[in-house]
């Protein structure tokens, strides 16, 4: 049935088609999704999310990892960790999905971040929302000053999007500096070995930068601490949060941290603003 015959509501999804599946790590795959007649399902800004569902299996919120500058398709990097994500990992190209969005705010790429020295810090699957911003910034490269990317994972096999990082982000001579690290030494890895927060500290970034962080909650907390030790103010640091969501529009009542709903008021928060929020995330 064509979407136009359905009385719309933001809770009602539209159709998307999986047109490519890439295995990134043992438990992360990146899914390319198109609208039924090609292109993207809807436009978004970097940091925004979408609700993906397989009817009868489940529906969940995922960050859109592709950049809005990519008009050909949308991408979602998804870690296998529950019943819906297991199903998604088992599906094949050509599978239709139900999709709705975009939801939430975005990183302020057209406002506060313009002209800034940017420092991206990601851990594991936390690269997914930042990749959208990184590729947006690379596309509009002249609008931003220097770009540093610190990315770490448990092992070299857990680095998401490593092909794109190696082939497109590194060595382009466009003042994008990538700093990779893994938690423990590993055969075949000649890069840095350290936890992300420690690595950030050892790189001794100047406080002229604006940092964008995403990773496991514990990593976010320690990275923020490391940055503050380097002299960063919380107002120079942005992060993106994730909590369980059902509606995506601030009504179902479960993703609040204090009076803020992560789906509606976030997921992107500037860290100084988070001081008004209780520590319940």
């Amino acid at each position: 049935m064509c979407d136009s015959e359905i009385r719309s509501d933001l809770l009602i999804p539209r159709l998307g088609v999986v047109t490519d599946i890439r295995r990134d790590t043992p438990d992360v795959k990146t899914f390319r999704v198109n609208g039924p007649s090609g292109g993207v399902c809807f436009s978004h800004m970097p940091g925004q999310c979408a609700m993906l569902s397989i009817p009868g299996v489940g529906e969940a919120m995922f960050s859109i990892t592709s950049s809005p500058t990519n008009k050909e398709y949308m991408e979602f990097s998804i870690k296998k960790c529950g019943s819906l994500t297991e199903w998604l990992h088992d599906m094949e190209v050509g599978q239709q999905v139900a999709i709705r969005g975009p939801y939430g705010n975005a990183f302020p790429v057209e406002a506060e971040l313009k002209g800034k020295d940017l420092l991206f810090i990601a851990g594991g699957i936390g690269l997914a929302p930042l990749r959208s911003v990184i590729n947006y910034v690379r596309y509009y490269r002249d609008n931003y000053a220097s770009v540093d990317i610190v990315y770490g994972a448990r092992s070299m096999d857990d680095l998401v999007d490593i092909d794109e990082i190696r082939n497109e982000w590194i060595g382009r001579g466009d003042d994008v500096n990538v700093h990779l690290t893994i938690d423990r030494p590993q055969e075949g890895w000649d890069g840095n070995v350290a936890f992300v927060p420690d690595y950030v500290k050892s790189l001794n970034f100047p406080t002229t930068k604006t940092a964008l962080i995403c990773g496991p909650p514990i990593m976010i907390k320690f990275v923020l601490k490391a940055l503050q030790e380097l002299g960063f103010d919380k107002s120079q640091v942005y992060t993106t949060l994730e909590l369980r969501m059902k509606c995506g529009i601030g009504k179902c009542g479960r993703c609040n941290v204090g009076a803020k709903y992560v789906c509606r008021d976030g997921p992107v928060f500037r860290c100084d603003k988070m001081e008004e929020m209780p520590d319940e995330y």
């Binding site: 359905i6 809770l11 299996v57 529906e59 239709q96 369980r244 509606c247 204090g258 008004e276 319940e280």
Partner: protein, 345 residues
């Protein structure tokens, strides 16, 4: 214009109100009084102050269809499956429940609008009724609700042997047109109605819970109240049954679930409760690990978070259902007392 009708003719009024639309009102349903659809045989119970559940159900039902799907191989089709819309009247809504619709409007009608709720609000006419016998579990007045002069499209009073009918909105006036021939003019009885209002307000002023003060409950106290050491003691006996959330006229948290009917997938939404352990459970953990955090969430939301986001409006209307129904006798009035200013102690 104030109208009146002999209460002996209430049956005729209900019959007329139910013509061409659904009429819901408090009925004796298996020994309990709850809102239900009127039929000529229904046992109407306007004497009972508190229905088991509130009038919320008619605007935000416990379950409702959102959409349906069919899956065939890799293909999915999306099928319209909204519940049918029909005009309806809810009769006998008390002041607390009538106000609760304002609270729900703040959630569902703010941008982006919930089209399911909006349709029900447009299709529904609220006929409220003043509370001639407020009970000791009532505390609506602390939220500025006047049990003697409730809001609604039409406001009614039962005084002596008459039902007084006062239209208040365009919707109310349109409804009045359909039943007007049953009524007689009561504009000469205004002092009678005013005296009745005074009597109700007098009872309310003497209710034990109506002296509670909400001073200090606002957004500026968020971190102080959140960090209070009292939450663990207050929540200690909470069994997480969620009864308070189900009988609450303002609780609006919902879940979205899929049901395989055998002929397709029906996606529906249903009431959910912040008191349940899986409400915020994620694959990587739960930000509200114990009943202490879940209990705190419910009351922080009603008394701090909601007013912070809604110009000071509390997400409680003092109906007292949770006071009457909680199996461990813990409720929002005790939380207000414990965390509030000293005047409450």
């Amino acid at each position: 214009m104030m109208l009146k009708l002999s209460i002996e003719k209430m049956g005729e009024l209900f019959q007329r109100l139910a013509e061409g639309r659904k009429l819901y009102l408090p009925l004796d349903r298996g020994g309990q009084v709850d809102f239900g659809p009127w039929t000529p045989e229904a046992k109407v119970r306007l004497d009972r102050l508190k229905t088991i559940k509130s009038a919320k159900d008619f605007f935000f039902p416990q379950t409702e269809n959102i959409v349906s799907f069919k899956r065939q191989g890799k293909d999915i089709s999306i099928i319209e499956n909204r519940d049918a819309e029909e005009p309806f009247v809810v009769f006998g809504v008390r002041g607390c429940d009538a106000r609760s619709l304002d609270v729900l409007d703040r959630v569902f009608l703010c941008d982006p609008v919930d089209s399911f709720y909006k349709a029900r609000r447009e299709n529904g006419v609220v006929v409220s009724m003043a509370c001639s016998e407020p009970e000791e579990t009532c505390f609506c007045s602390i939220f500025g609700i006047d049990a003697a002069d409730p809001q609604g499209d039409v406001v009614t009073y039962i005084i002596g042997d008459f039902l007084y009918w006062d239209e208040r909105t365009d919707k109310g006036r349109a409804l009045t047109e359909t039943v007007k021939s049953l009524f007689s003019d009561a504009s000469g009885d205004s002092s009678l109605v005013e005296r009745s209002r005074g009597e109700i307000r007098d009872i309310v002023s003497r209710l034990p819970l109506c002296s509670l003060s909400l001073e200090g409950f606002d957004g500026s106290a968020l971190k102080e109240k959140f960090g209070s050491p009292l939450w663990s003691e207050l929540s200690q006996a909470c069994v997480g049954c969620g009864t308070c959330t189900y009988v609450c006229p303002t609780c609006q948290c919902y879940d979205i679930q899929d049901f395989d009917t055998g002929h397709g997938i029906r996606r529906f939404r249903c009431w959910d409760s912040c008191m349940y352990s899986d409400f915020t459970l994620m694959a990587h953990g739960n930000p509200r690990k114990s009943q202490v955090e879940r209990f705190r969430q419910r009351f922080m939301h009603k008394l701090i978070y909601f007013p912070a986001n809604n110009d000071g409006m509390y997400s409680c209307v003092g109906c007292g259902r949770c006071v009457a129904k909680c199996p461990i006798s813990m409720n929002i009035t005790k939380v207000i007392k414990a965390l509030g200013v000293e005047v409450n102690v």
